[in-house]
Amino acid sequence: MKHLVFWAATALFFCNLSLNAQEKFTLSGIISEEKSNETLIGVNIIFPETGSGTTTNAYGFYSITLPKGTYSVIVSYLGYTTITETIELNSDITKHISLVESLENLDTVIITENIEKLSIKNPQMSVNTLTSSTIKDIPVVLGEADIIKAITLLPGVTNAGEASSGFNVRGGSADQNLILLDEATIYNSSHLFGFFSVFNPDAIKDLRLFKGGIPARYGGRVSSVLDIYQKEGNSKAFHLNGGIGIVASRLLAEGPIEKDKGSFLFGGRSSYAHLFLPLFDINNIAYFYDLNTKLSYKLNDRNNIYLSGYFGRDVFRIEDSFENTYGNSVLNFRWNHLFSDKLFSNLSLIYSDYYYNLKLSFVEFDWISGIQNFNIKYDLKHYLNDTFKLQYGLNSIYYKFNPGEINPTVETSGINPFKLIDKYAFENALYVDAEHKVSDKLALSYGLRFSSFFRLGQDELNVYANNQPVVFNEDFQIYEKANPTDTEAFKRSDVIAKFFNLEPRFSAAYQINSNSSVKGSYNRMSQYLHLLSNTNSPTPLDVWTPSGKYVKPQLLDQYALGYFKNFKNDVYSLEIETFYKTIKNRIDYIDGADLIANNAIEQVILNGKARAYGLEFLLRKNKGRFKGWLAYTLSKSEQQTTGRTPNELGINNGNWYNTPYDKTHDISLTGSFKLNDKWEINSNFLFQTGQPATFPNGQYVYNGINIPNYGARNKNRLPAYNRLDVSLKYQPKQSENKRWKSHWVFGVYNIYNRKNATSINFSQSKTTGSNEATRLSIFGIVPSISYNFKL
């Protein structure tokens, strides 16, 4: 299969190069927003006579090469006034275009990608795009617009409950999502344990979520790519916008450094609910903040540079006994260079880290862990002609993992200082990706990523008999840690383990008629980093571990098929997709695995596998007073860890078991209705099969306490989850010339106050001594209010 795809790709590539006979010219340029010069991503440039077209890339650049001639060009982007022009293409033309926001469509941007006719032709499938304004319209708990909460309303995306960090795509785990903020990897996407995500929606321009058919330029995670771009900042005039909510407030300033050439953006966000706690005589503190910065400068027509940064922290403090701080930092320098009007390049130099600190004064120790990486990416996009584009590039990442360090907090502490052994790794990838329009009906995209991973020398590594760090005790039928027989020492330049993987990617779109198409895709991906987490949902405390001598990389194969249709003049669109995926080497944990402060993590993990399959349905109404979407996902997500030999039991007796985010049915209905110029109503309704859980199948008494006895893992389910949220947006009448613009959002989360179970706990009642089942529900009905302004 792998070879077949490779040879097919090579053959197609060469046959394409030989077709260049006629005289051709290139039209290229940057498309930006007229008032701010903010570049626009995914703008369609269509040539209706020839049926050809292109879209702007992540930096607003487009290029198309056509035979000499006179063409009419349509430039369209939802929410902006469409431009139609006639172009005489008898030489190479550079044409920068400014689009004007169309007033009647203001705030009407719903998922933009896939709704234009062009996207029906585009082989890219399984992708959803959301703009900042869509995200802000979705009612959320406590009124804070949130990117992660918004994407979980899309088909194929869910999470492991209301208070869970991260998100799950097509039955994959949260650590299998590659989250990129301006090309830099974000390791923890959540604030306050998942109640909020780390992305400030005001600073975000555009995001796209790839669930399948993932292009070869992305790699390193197996389930999805969430690619987020921050705004560059307004290079025409100074602007301020912000919002005040009940939990957090935001402020964002942007403006020119040099008019039309350079701009800055500085955004901050912080929660402040903790400031009121002392009023209730609570000396505990829980807050988060984040800062987004970006400087952009246009050196000349061919060169742009960007410097962007992100810094976020969560802080919890209880009296003097406990303090917890964690968060991501990212610093990123990028250089866009146009080699020619057909060859666009971007160089990124990125530093990012994740820091975790826990100070437990009551037990007199301090814990620090983290991950640091240096990342260099060089991406080129070659717009060869109107039917063929080539993207290629390379990516190298150097990692340093600090699995943890313990230090006593006071001199009299009984804790000895202890440093877990640092781990080092080097990840590299080379890729090439082609977009190939074979005929008017058929478009292909095919590529190959060659990834490699080197686990570099560390101070000490355990050696085990038979290379088995975990042994199975046949008498007691349990897995136990093996005793190391020896240790090995390495130099930093040594390679302890190395892995190479070829990752073919392929997708095709066949247009049935002008309104509908079918698409299919296959992708193989590898993941060399693993988040060690044996809980339902990852926590900020969890540490990442690299593949190595005892931990193998995860390998994914995914197949997807879809049907796409626009109807009623593009007012409605329908997407139906089905997928099947398998993942090899999914880490599983032996019972009682200690994942924190463990120098020999290999002693508590086993290699398993995972699979997921499903059907996704998305019906959207994109225009008019009422807009919204209905998403339905029918899916199954399971994992299995069998014994390594027939005598071993495996995890869960070697049987397949549901992942904690397996939800058979997942329905979300999201809509907005514009009542009049001042009022708009937004609402979402969710219904989901209850999350898998393990309930006891009996009890016994041991050492004077009641012990629930558990059977098969995740065999039971919590009650079905459903809720309705409503919010009202009020925009007072504002005169056109007035600079100060504002609106209010009044929201109610879970309006019928359903007590959705986050978990059910089975234990002995403290008052009666009898066993009981206790339901924990986090959010009942939660009203919210926020005030948002723009200057």
Binding site: A163, L192, F193, A273, H274, I282, N283, F322, N324, L358, F362, V363, I406, G414, N416, F476, Q477, I478, E480, T535, S537, T539, L541, Y589, G592, I596, A597, T694, P696, N697, G698, Q699, Y700, V701, Y702, N703, G704, I705, I707, P708, N709, Y710, G711, R713, N714, K755, A757, T758, S759, I760, N761, S763, Q764, N771, A773, R775, L776, S777, I778, G780
Partner: protein
């Protein structure tokens, strides 16, 4: 630790709600439960020992059926056999001739309904509890009494501890296990915090020396019985297998554990 963070967060936001609900549960086939803990209290002769045998029951039942009519013996490496005689039909089996030896190896044998169960364990010594520290404004809300029971870990050997905090007046038991990975050779403490403790209450603090395997067993068991189990930050629960095996019919494995420990009891009256 994770649960602690979770509770903190939930409480801070003041939004969560807990209520007792009805849940229909399946009941698995009945299994033998071995609650065999031989404890040698420092300063006593350790002759009097007790083993409890019972059966699993449906989760919401208030009665736990005893396993009666079993033949229970413990043997040591000096060819002594200690017969445990049932008290009526209570499932409680007693022996008053037991000879404890530090680091001595003991084998438990039970014959019940034609199945023979076996387990072997070593009597682990324990270091004494030295003193208690009390803090009256502990816990997240500052309304709990925190108790620290100090002991000195013997240097350069791996030690594992079970601590029991028992309130005889209320018949409540709290268990904690500790290892010495990060505290080897130091004076360190076992920690207990309780909002229902008040001045004048008697608290029995018992330390037990346990083996590495016992530590692992209890660690998993306690995670699953913890009041906070089942929350999103808890490890996935599973049947906890102990060190007793059914040699007649291995598939009909028993639950519970055979533990042999030296213990130290420290009685403390809350200030």
């Amino acid at each position: 630790m994770k649960q602690l963070l979770f509770i903190l967060l939930i409480n801070t936001l003041l939004l969560s709600c807990e209520d007792v609900i009805q849940v229909d549960l399946e009941t698995a086939e009945t299994r033998m439960v071995i609650d065999a803990s031989l404890n040698w209290e420092k300063g006593t002769n350790g002759n009097m020992q007790q083993i409890k045998l019972s059966l699993t029951a449906p989760f919401f039942d208030d009665n736990i059926p005893p396993a009666t009519g079993a033949i229970v013996t413990v043997t040591d490496t000096n060819n002594n056999t200690f017969n445990f005689i049932e008290d009526g039909t209570t499932g409680i089996y007693n022996n008053n001739m037991f000879i404890p030896v530090i680091n001595g190896e003991y084998t438990l044998s039970i014959i019940y309904e034609n199945d023979r169960y076996l387990a072997t364990e070593t009597l682990k010594p324990v270091t004494p509890i030295e003193f208690i520290e009390q803090k009256n404004d502990g816990g997240f809300a500052g309304d709990e009494i925190e108790i620290k029971a100090f002991y000195t870990d013997p240097k350069d050997i791996e030690n594992f501890y079970l601590f029991e905090f028992r309130k005889p007046a209320l018949n409540t038991i709290n268990l904690e296990v500790y290892d010495d990975e990060f505290t080897d050779g130091n004076q360190i403490f076992a920690f207990y915090s309780d909002e229902n403790l008040s001045s004048g209450d008697l608290l029995e603090i018992i330390s037990y020396g346990i083996s590495s395997r016992t530590y692992n067993y209890l660690n998993i068991l306690l995670q699953q019985t913890d009041n906070e189990s089942g929350d999103p930050f808890e490890a996935q629960p599973a049947t906890v297998r102990g060190n007793c095996i059914n040699v007649t019919n291995p598939n009909n494995y028993p639950l519970g554990y055979f533990r042999v420990s030296e213990t130290h009891i420290f009685s403390y009256v809350v200030d």
